[in-house]
């Protein structure tokens, strides 16, 4: 059996696709383990979803091909929470507010604050605390 991999994705569902049980099929038909971080349906009935999918590479590929048959756009970087690198001053205020250490200081000499998206669980705790408005949510 081939190895399983995990991919972080952000999906955007336009109004017409919001009511379809697409995620259900990812689990049932493609054997994927799904871990949803954050989901939102806007008043315009559009939907956003940030999730991890875990499974064998082929299954993931086929599953994504299936998702694409709908009018759903896939953002492979899975960034629901982004940091504007030009705006960040590396002040370090966000660090204590981030529960997972996605925002952290690795290099004690330069004290650069890094943002590792892979560790972000989209809790949104950091969004309002950045004094330089560098952190933002895609939805």
């Amino acid at each position: 059996m081939s190895e399983t991999v995990t991919k972080k994705l952000m999906l955007f569902f336009p109004r017409c696709e919001c009511e379809k049980p697409i995620i259900y099929h990812l689990v049932k038909d493609y054997n994927l383990v799904v871990n949803v971080y954050r989901a939102k349906v806007t008043p315009e009935e559009e939907g956003y979803l940030v999730l991890d999918v875990t499974g064998v590479e082929e299954d993931i590929e086929q599953a994504l091909a299936f998702v694409k048959t709908f009018n759903v756009s896939i953002n492979y970087s899975g960034k629901g929470v982004t940091r504007d690198e030009n705006s960040c001053t590396h002040c370090g205020h966000c660090v204590t507010h981030c529960p997972t250490g996605a925002l952290r200081i690795d290099d004690k000499m330069t004290r650069e604050v890094i943002y590792s998206e892979a560790d972000c669980i989209e809790c949104m705790a950091c969004i309002g605390v950045c004094p330089f408005d560098a952190l933002a949510s895609a939805f």
Partner: protein, 396 residues
């Protein structure tokens, strides 16, 4: 012993030996104080952080016909017009007109004076709206126009208080989150914030103001400015460590420079949720190594600098002067401090990353011969204390 003249000659000839306040520590350890004092000409210090007492004078030139602005706004941010006709002063903490402030607590404070200053320095186009009562010599009563910093005759940063020598560590002992100029502080001592570049910070490398004085040339976001006075609330007479380092705010600097020469990456508008707006500035101060004493003071280390931990939910607002405990910058930088038996996560508002960049940029400028030092024309007072505001019921 060296003089300013000798140091400037070495700078001019491109031979000056310049190190940052970070590098000098190991250097002196290795070479010894006496040898290093002979060799090193300048140590560069720096800081980058919110500095609320900042602002600028702008001169717009005259419109046709002329106006004597009696009220004016830039991007809807009120500026002070109680000076000559088309001069204004724009302050960093001024809110935008119509900002709901803390009406819905905690307010967002997305834009204000500090952001206008950032936009100006970044060369963005801004809106000026001004009103007047009209006079015989200045008949125009209203003007709305768009401008960039290049359209102005002068844009001069004049900051009454920058570069606090040392600063509080903010913490919250209450059971609800609080929103302060020390950032968002979670309840029950969940986090603490400090705001200083520690061993890299200008006045911590010259604790008794032996070399930094009125007239000292400084690097302000890339522009060459200078110290024009002691900063407001400058209070050098304070509790100090045996090594002479103040255990609280203490000294401050009043700084000025030509804003047209500033670099946008070091001039940034600041938003504090639930508190307001401000301006973060990057400042570098060169320390001339005149003798061994001056050099010795620049070797100060994070572990020797203590900051007072203050409860911003009660003691700070009530102005009762209570300090919970003192912690060193070494402890703060480790990311965890102990406050009365509880381990507390530490964040910061001052960017050491940028401060280090600035110390290196300034060192490079001096090495290249592009930044000469200036000898102070007057010292900063050492014996001043900070006075409180007395609330009197009657004038007498």
């Amino acid at each position: 012993m060296k003089t300013y003249e000798q140091i400037n000659d070495r700078i001019e000839s491109g031979k000056a030996v310049v190190l940052t306040a970070d590098e000098i520590i190991d250097y002196v350890d290795k070479k010894g104080l006496a040898a290093a004092a002979k060799e090193v000409d300048v140590v560069t210090t720096a800081t980058f952080g919110p500095m609320c007492s900042s602002g600028c004078f702008l001169n717009f030139g005259h419109s046709k016909p002329k106006i004597r602005m009696s009220e004016a706004w830039i991007e809807d941010v009120l500026v002070y017009t109680g000076i000559a006709a088309v001069d204004v002063y724009l302050g960093a903490t001024q809110l935008r007109h119509g900002d709901p402030a803390n009406m819905y607590h905690p307010g967002e404070f997305r834009y204000g004076g500090g952001h206008v200053i950032e936009d100006l320095v970044a060369g963005r186009k801004l809106q000026l709206f001004a009103l007047s009562y009209g006079t015989d010599c200045y008949p125009l009563r209203e003007i709305r126009t768009y401008f960039t910093i290049n359209d102005l005759n002068q844009a001069i940063m004049v900051n009454p208080r920058n570069c606090y020598q040392n600063y509080n560590v903010g913490i919250n002992f209450s059971d609800r989150p609080i929103y302060t100029y020390m950032g968002t502080l979670e309840p029950e001592r969940k986090n603490a914030n400090y705001c200083s570049a520690g061993q890299l910070s200008p006045l911590l490398n010259d604790p008794y103001y032996d070399v930094i004085g009125v007239g000292t040339k400084v690097w302000m976001a890339g522009a060459q400015g200078h110290v024009y006075a002691e900063g407001t609330q400058h209070a050098g007479a304070c509790e100090r460590t045996p090594g002479g380092i103040p255990k609280g705010g203490a000294g401050t600097l009043a700084l000025t420079c030509d804003m047209k020469k500033m670099r946008p990456e070091f001039v940034r508008g600041v938003t504090f949720r639930g508190y307001g707006v401000s301006l973060a500035l990057g400042i570098g101060v060169p320390i001339p190594i005149l003798n061994e004493d001056v050099l010795k003071r620049t070797c100060v280390r994070d572990r020797d600098i203590l900051a007072p931990v203050v409860d911003y939910s009660h003691d700070y607002p009530q102005n009762n002067g209570k300090v919970i405990c003192c912690v060193s910058y070494e402890q703060l930088r480790s990311g965890r401090i102990d406050v009365e038996g509880k381990e507390v996560a530490v964040g910061s508002l001052s960017s050491y990353y940028k401060a280090l960049q600035i110390a290196n940029l300034l060192a490079d400028e001096i090495r290249r011969g592009d930044f000469r030092l200036a000898e102070p024309i007057a010292p900063l007072p050492k014996d001043k204390k900070m006075k409180p505001l007395v609330t009197r019921k009657k004038p007498s």
